[in-house]
């Protein structure tokens, strides 16, 4: 329900902000809209009133499936059009705590959009669970080493397979910078056997 702050609301702009979804598998096309009238929602029903604080707008939309996204580059083409806040939100979903993303940005360690596209690819296309993103530093020099992308449900053999397969795909798609500066990490794999 678009709220009327200034008496005018740009319906297309409001719809564009609402239509992004987490799945990236479909998009919504705004076909038409028709303003119904001013009023307000009361007890789950919209009542026409003299109030000009809210308006109900009827919209016609069509859902379209987009071509399945399988390549990182496809996701990057979408992500590079997003604003910085949205990119930070995508990455922030996977950060446990601390200010790793800010450090990555301040140091210019890796382009955040390329990192975000990669994380989206890992989670949305490969179906992996990313539990944290971190910037690992050498304890002796304090120099940043690589970005850790921590995966869950990952044993030693899966870690080996994923490492090679993901990096090969990154390099094939021209994401060598990401391949060099990101490490997929499965800490569970280090705990599986006890000496």
């Amino acid at each position: 329900m678009p709220y009327l702050n200034d008496f005018y609301v740009n319906i297309e702009e409001s719809f564009t902000r609402m239509r992004s979804s987490d799945s990236w598998r479909s998009t919504y096309i705004l076909l038409s809209y028709l303003q119904v009238g001013f009023g307000m929602p009361i007890a789950g029903e919209f009542r026409d009133t003299a109030s000009r604080e809210t308006a109900r707008v009827r919209i016609n939309i069509r859902e379209e499936e987009v071509a399945p996204i399988t390549r990182i580059r496809q996701l990057y083409d979408i992500v590079k059009e997003l604003g910085e806040e949205e990119v930070l939100r995508i990455l922030g979903r996977h950060v446990k705590g601390g200010n790793a993303i800010q450090s990555i940005r301040e140091l210019g360690f890796l382009d955040l959009r390329r990192l975000a596209a990669t994380v989206l690819w890992l989670t949305s296309v490969l179906g992996l669970r990313v539990s944290n993103i971190d910037l690992l530093e050498d304890p002796e020099t304090g120099q940043p080493q690589f970005i850790g992308v921590y995966l869950e449900d990952c044993n030693w053999d899966k870690w080996k397979t994923l490492s090679r397969a993901v990096k090969k795909q990154l390099v094939n798609d021209g994401f060598n910078d990401v391949a060099r500066r990101v490490a997929l990490i499965c800490t569970q794999a280090l705990k599986t056997r006890r000496s």
């Binding site: 200010n99 060099r180 006890r194 000496s195």
Partner: protein, 146 residues
């Protein structure tokens, strides 16, 4: 230029890894925590030195008067691009643990600022050493082709 006379294979740690593997397999009586700690540290630096030599001879220049001192990050990033994430992280986190942490098991944070960063539980023992050696051989195989 000193590097012109250098043979990269003189720093190939294959014999060293073989020696450690034999100790682990045939002389378990000699393997205590001190030995394990020093083996893990030695393995990491042996691989790093081999990579450094090969990189130098390929024209990469480091720091120092002879430009032969490189950053760990360059070594790590070379291997990460080849998909050796599991090997790099395993050896690196255990190398930091054996050189900089005292308790066993311990929790390691790979950052200079301890209030941020993922904590990893590390145990230093025979099983750890097997994983480190497995990772080391995979890294070595990659470096021998470099």
């Amino acid at each position: 230029m000193h590097s012109g006379a250098q043979d990269p294979e003189k720093l190939n740690p294959r014999k060293l890894l073989g020696y450690f593997t034999r100790i682990l397999r045939e002389r378990k009586d000699l393997v205590d925590e001190v030995v394990i700690r020093r083996i893990i540290s030695a393995v990491y630096f042996a691989l790093f030195n081999y990579w450094s030599m090969k990189s130098l001879l390929k024209g990469l220049r480091g720091r120092g008067p002879s430009k032969d001192s490189f950053w760990f990050s360059e070594f790590h990033q070379h291997l990460l691009e080849k998909g050796l994430d599991y090997a790099v992280y395993t050896i690196y986190v255990h190398r930091v643990a054996v050189d900089h942490y005292t308790l066993n098991p311990t929790r390691v944070v790979l950052t200079s600022q301890p209030w941020k960063g993922e904590e990893v539980e590390v145990e230093i023992g025979g099983t750890t050493l097997e994983r480190v050696l497995e990772s080391a051989y995979d890294i070595l195989e990659c470096l021998e082709k470099y």
